[in-house]
């Protein structure tokens, strides 16, 4: 649904540009990326919400930051006192960690060997909306819901962990998938296949999906449509029934990210809430 909305926004923005009789040069510029589209969207302009302040309160070891909204992307050392905005990306090294304080509502400890992005942090009246995208590694989030309503989510490539007034441990590893542990309050994991509520002291993971994803990442299954890819029914069958069928006629791909007809990108199957960029559907990806 958000995709449809953003598409509508792009159309509206384009219509507005045309109506304003923009210079001839305008259409020849590169197509607006999703971020540009979002910046131009009337929704964003009209929204009373403002970007909140994220402050770095602790850094241990090696940690770096970059602003994904700026070109060229430049990585800099992360320091205590740094203020980060939306689209900031942080990566930590081995034996390193960092703590971010999200203005008056939550604290996030970024574990070692982690890459995480702030895709959204907005205050809309009393409510604070936070979206983090976790590419790899682990985070611990403490959401202080007693200070007001918070909509806090950590999006991984395969799932979304929604925190409702809780302390959450969340991680994503390529071999294990998304994992969440609820230390306090309520946690919800949403993946392509299910939504699960986790009570205090419980943990959850979506690693039952992984044999399928792992196999698909290694194989371009040569069954299905003429282009050598998979039909929608087969994709659904693979996701529902496990990886067994993917072995039929599998061939090791040359370059999975090359795109083109017949190229099969497993993550694109998981059109759940996760799997994109730094955590929202519009984000084009990681720098």
């Amino acid at each position: 649904m958000p995709r449809v909305m953003s598409f509508v926004c792009v159309l509206l923005a384009a219509a507005a540009l045309c109506a304003a009789d923009s210079p001839a040069k305008q259409p020849t510029t590169a197509p607006a990326g999703p971020q540009d589209a979002k910046a131009d969207s009337p929704d964003t302009k009209a929204a009373p919400a403002g970007g909140g302040k994220v402050t770095v309160t602790e850094v241990s070891g090696l940690a770096q930051k970059c602003d994904a909204s700026k070109e060229p992307v430049k990585w800099e050392p992360l320091k205590v006192g740094d203020e980060l905005g939306e689209k900031a990306i942080i990566r930590t090294g081995l034996s390193s960690s960092a703590v971010l304080k999200f203005e008056d509502r939550s604290d996030v400890r970024i574990g070692s060997a982690t890459k995480v992005g702030i895709s959204e942090f907005r205050k809309d009246g009393a409510k604070v909306k936070t979206r983090l995208g976790l590419k790899y590694g682990s985070v611990r989030a403490h959401v202080h819901s007693e200070r007001g309503p918070a909509d806090f989510r950590v999006t991984t490539p395969t799932a979304t962990l929604s925190v409702r007034g809780s302390i959450l441990d969340g991680s994503f590893t390529a071999d294990l998938g998304s994992q969440g542990r609820n230390l306090q309050g309520l946690l919800v994991l949403t993946s392509a296949l299910r939504q699960q509520m986790i009570n205090k002291g419980e943990g959850v993971s979506d690693n039952h999906n992984l044999p399928v994803l792992a196999m698909l990442s290694q194989f371009h299954a040569q069954m299905g449509d003429k282009s050598g890819g998979l039909t929608q029914n087969e994709i659904q069958s693979l996701l529902t029934n496990g990886g067994g069928r993917a072995g039929i006629g599998g061939a090791v791909p040359g370059n999975r990210s090359s795109g083109g007809p017949g190229t099969f990108t497993p993550m694109s199957l998981v059109r759940g809430p996760g799997n994109t960029g730094i955590g929202n559907e519009e984000n084009p990806g990681w720098p």
Binding site: R91, Y136, G137
Partner: protein, 185 residues
């Protein structure tokens, strides 16, 4: 006739055993890509980020990862220096063949991690000494590595995950629950 068949079986079995012990992929002790370079001045955040998107992890990158795990940095100028540094600490087996560009296998990675983290393991690992097979089984048991056989290559994302677990183990003596695989080979 029977004796000849028996001898042939023994020879084949010995060859298989030797290849398993030494690791496949070239004559023991051979070296390829001694001068192979990696990005200079790379720190662990950059290294992990770069490797995480790779389909395979080369032996060169894997050894940089192990050195970063142990020392926090990789001061080696090339692949040969990296190998020598690890050989000196008994982390790689000197009977292995080395190829900078060849993808590292799960078995080799497990062997290097067992040695680097001084993981003692169970009875067989203790009695027979480190081997790729039993190091892998031990690390799978301890939740470092997901299930799989020792000859398969390791993907970049998985390598980063394994390094994160090893890093936590080095600092705390255990793999954190949030990063742990379910265990078992």
């Amino acid at each position: 006739m029977r004796a000849r068949v028996g001898q042939a079986c023994v020879v084949v079995a010995a060859a298989i055993a030797a290849s398993l012990l030494a690791g496949c992929g070239g004559p023991p002790g051979s070296f390829k890509g001694a001068e192979a370079q990696l990005p200079q001045g790379e720190q662990s955040p950059e290294f992990l980020d770069r490797v995480s998107s790779q389909k395979h992890v080369s032996e060169n990158d894997a050894m940089r990862g192990i050195l970063m795990l142990l020392d926090g940095q990789d001061a080696a100028k090339g692949f040969q220096q990296r190998v020598e540094a690890l050989k000196g600490r008994n982390i790689v087996n000197s009977r292995w063949s080395f190829d900078a560009a060849r993808p590292v296998t799960r078995g080799r990675l497990a062997y290097m991690l067992c040695q680097a983290l001084n993981i003692q393991g169970g009875v067989i690992l203790t009695l027979t000494g480190p081997s790729q097979r039993y190091c892998l089984r031990e690390l799978q048991y301890q939740g470092f590595l997901a299930s799989g056989i020792m000859t398969t290559e390791i993907a970049g994302g998985e390598f980063v995950a394994v390094l994160a677990r090893a890093d936590a183990y080095k600092n705390t003596g255990e793999v954190p629950e949030i990063l742990k695989t379910s265990g078992g080979p």
